[in-house]
């Protein structure tokens, strides 16, 4: 097991921004189209973080034209070139699957303020 962790540790990103469930993030995704490489952004709410080490993933949910879109990103994938936290959310659970049942105003997440962190 130790050897496996060492192998994984070598391939993990050196620094990953601190973010947690409920945060609104902008993920820069590397897309290769016909030999050309470009960066595509995916912006939404983190509704899940799971796994550990090299296999850790996170799920980002956004609602586009009334349709919910969720993408699961491997945290250490080279295709995830950057993660920017736009807003910290105040949530009371680890998985925000309940957001799938909610639309519009009901699906809002309260912003985490400095005071709430204390």
């Amino acid at each position: 097991m130790d050897i496996l962790n060492q192998i994984a540790a070598k391939r993990m990103k050196e620094s990953v921004p601190q973010f947690s469930v409920g945060d609104t993030v902008r993920v820069d995704v590397r897309v290769v189209e016909g030999g050309r490489e470009r960066v595509q952004a995916f912006q939404g709410t983190i509704i899940q973080r799971r796994g550990s080490g090299l296999g850790e993933t996170f799920t980002v949910r956004k609602v586009t034209q009334g349709v919910g879109v969720e993408r699961i990103f491997p945290l250490h994938s080279p295709n995830v070139s950057a993660i920017r936290v736009l807003r910290r959310g105040k949530v009371r659970r680890a998985k925000l699957f309940y957001l799938r049942q909610l639309m519009g105003k009901a699906a809002r997440i309260e912003e985490k303020t400095e005071k709430a962190e204390e």
Binding site: M1, H76, N79
Partner: protein, 206 residues
């Protein structure tokens, strides 16, 4: 010489250049010393016997301990023979490591699979089972096991429930993803037989 003894470490995954995840098995390959050289003249065929896994001499049979001692080596838990074209190139005590696979693209890995105990037909022979509904009651039955008056017996080799796994088999043409010469590790794409610490026989694919 195109084979070595190894040990399964486990599985993990790596990211490709384009971000694709590749499942890999990590195998500790060697280093294996030559315990005995078999020559056509003396033994009728050319092969080398390799050792793997050093143990205290008291942990193996006396014959094995003496056999290893004869080559001036410590006692090995596992010994395996590999055919070679020319036995004269090798001598007892010579150490062979994962370097021999440096330019190998694909390998075959042999080992014993995980034992599953007594299992039913679905797991053992991939039977699909009966209908779940529409009044069916034959959800998990074997069905007919043969004809009646002739042959009046069940044919040999009929697929039935029973002990599954813990059999030796070979996974062929596994792509070598990476070789770590320093730590004697090899990563191959896909699964290899057995659980972690299973002893494996790794040969270059022909």
């Amino acid at each position: 010489m195109r084979g070595l003894i190894g040990k399964k470490i486990g599985m993990t995954h790596l990211f490709d250049k384009d971000g694709t995840q590749i499942p890999v098995s990590v195998i500790q390959v060697g280093p294996c010393p030559v315990v005995q050289v078999k020559s056509p003249k003396k033994d009728g065929y050319a092969a080398i016997q390799l050792g793997f896994g050093v143990v205290r001499p008291t942990k193996v049979k006396l014959a094995r301990a003496g056999h290893c001692k004869k080559a001036g080596l410590p006692a090995y838990r596992d010994l395996q023979e590999f055919r070679v074209e020319n036995a004269d190139e090798f001598e007892a005590g010579q150490i062979i490591d994962v370097t021999i696979f440096k330019d190998t693209a694909e390998v075959d890995v042999t080992g014993k699979s995980k034992g599953r105990g007594f299992t039913g037909l679905h797991k053992r022979h991939n039977f699909h089972g009966g209908p779940a509904s529409h009044g069916s009651k034959s959800h998990d039955v074997a069905g007919s096991i043969g004809s009646s008056a002739y042959p009046s017996r069940v044919m040999k080799g009929k697929k039935m429930a029973g002990r599954t796994g813990y059999t030796r088999f070979t996974v062929k043409n596994l792509k070598v993803v990476e070789i770590d010469l320093e730590n004697n590790l090899m990563m191959v794409r896909g699964a290899v037989p057995g659980a972690a610490n299973t002893i494996l026989r790794i040969t270059a694919s022909s």
